[in-house]
């Protein structure tokens, strides 16, 4: 009798240990962007120390914001200079629906909502982002790295070169 109790107890403890260990190996989906996210960029201009452009949602899903990076030298192939103070993304506030377009930066009253601080910019790269629910139902930021777009521009602080 004592033997059975010990044996069953041991099996339960071992089962618990193995369960806790194996649980972490179960794949869980992190927030991912749908493949059908697409964005286009147009009317890129440099005015004063602001880069102005128009974004259009050319995909099938809403877009909630975007990351903006720039190349700051002619040789640079990858845009790595973040044009948002402190990094991160600019949110649209209200999601950009398919076929909808928005001119940026938005100016409400005297306040510039999306404030860029470019130095010398050769091209800008826009990566859309979307809030996606994870498997716990919590909204997470999903970066749509496959849908990024790049546009050439040449601007210097205070003057337009192209």
């Amino acid at each position: 009798m004592v033997g059975y109790v010990l044996l069953i107890g041991m099996v339960i403890v071992m089962g618990g240990i193995v369960y806790a260990w194996l649980k972490t190996y179960v794949p869980k989906d992190i927030a991912q962007c749908p493949n059908e996210i697409s964005i286009s960029i147009s009317n890129v201009q440099c005015i004063s120390n602001q880069i102005k452009f128009t974004l259009k949602n050319t995909g099938l899903f809403n877009i909630d914001g975007y990351y903006i990076k720039a190349t700051t030298s002619e040789e640079q192939e990858l845009a790595t200079e973040e044009l948002k103070d402190g990094g991160g993304y600019f949110g649209f506030g209200r999601a950009l629906k398919p076929n909808e377009e928005i001119s940026l930066p938005r100016i409400i009253g005297d306040q510039i909502i999306d404030n860029y601080m470019p130095t010398y910019v050769y091209s800008i790269e826009i990566t859309p982002m979307k809030f996606q629910e994870n498997d716990k139902g919590i909204l997470e930021v999903a970066v749509c790295g496959n849908s990024k777009v790049k546009e050439s521009i040449e601007c210097d602080i205070g003057q337009t070169l192209a």
Binding site: V2, G3, T24, Q32, E75, Q76, L78, T80, E81
Partner: protein, 159 residues
């Protein structure tokens, strides 16, 4: 004959004691073996509630070494890249270093967040190839722990 049988009956231990003794022995041996084996196992590190080895699969980044000697990295995925190991190949062989310790002074302190970029001028001497291997920040048994992903998750750049 009857006397001998009686003597034998009196000598053995009871089945309960024998079972307890046996099970106890097995438990002691099992714990010794498991303690010994524990040294050979890798510490479990988790990130986003799953094993960090699986998170390496979700990393997505691009990297370029420009002709001007600038290493450019862009994190295009949803996983923050805490650090980067750099495997440098030359004619003599290869060695692996920490990008932030040995080559970079600008690597972000909290890592390269999703959507972020990094660029810095670097020289790799006579190297003909480098591989950038991401390092993640997970939670181990004793708290926060770094985990270097397998080389297959790295990006190879020919110089």
């Amino acid at each position: 004959m009857k006397k001998l049988n009686n003597k034998m009956e009196r000598r053995g231990v009871s089945p309960v004691i024998a079972t307890v003794f046996l099970v106890g022995l097995v438990l002691v041996i099992a714990s010794i073996v498991s303690l010994w084996m524990w040294n050979f196992t890798e510490e479990r590190v988790t990130k986003f509630d799953k094993n960090v080895q699986l998170v390496c699969d979700d990393i997505k980044f691009s990297a370029i070494y420009s002709s001007g000697g600038e290493l450019q990295i862009s994190n295009d995925g949803n996983v923050p890249i805490y650090k980067m190991k750099i495997e440098i190949f030359d004619e003599a062989g290869h060695n692996t270093e920490d990008l932030d310790n040995e080559y970079s002074s600008d690597w972000p302190e909290n890592g390269l967040n999703p959507g972020a970029g990094f660029s810095e001028l670097m020289e790799f001497g006579n190297a003909n190839k480098i591989i950038l291997i991401p390092v993640l920040y997970g939670i181990g048994e004793a708290g926060k722990k770094e985990y270097t992903c397998n080389e297959v998750y790295g990006v190879e750049i020919s110089l």
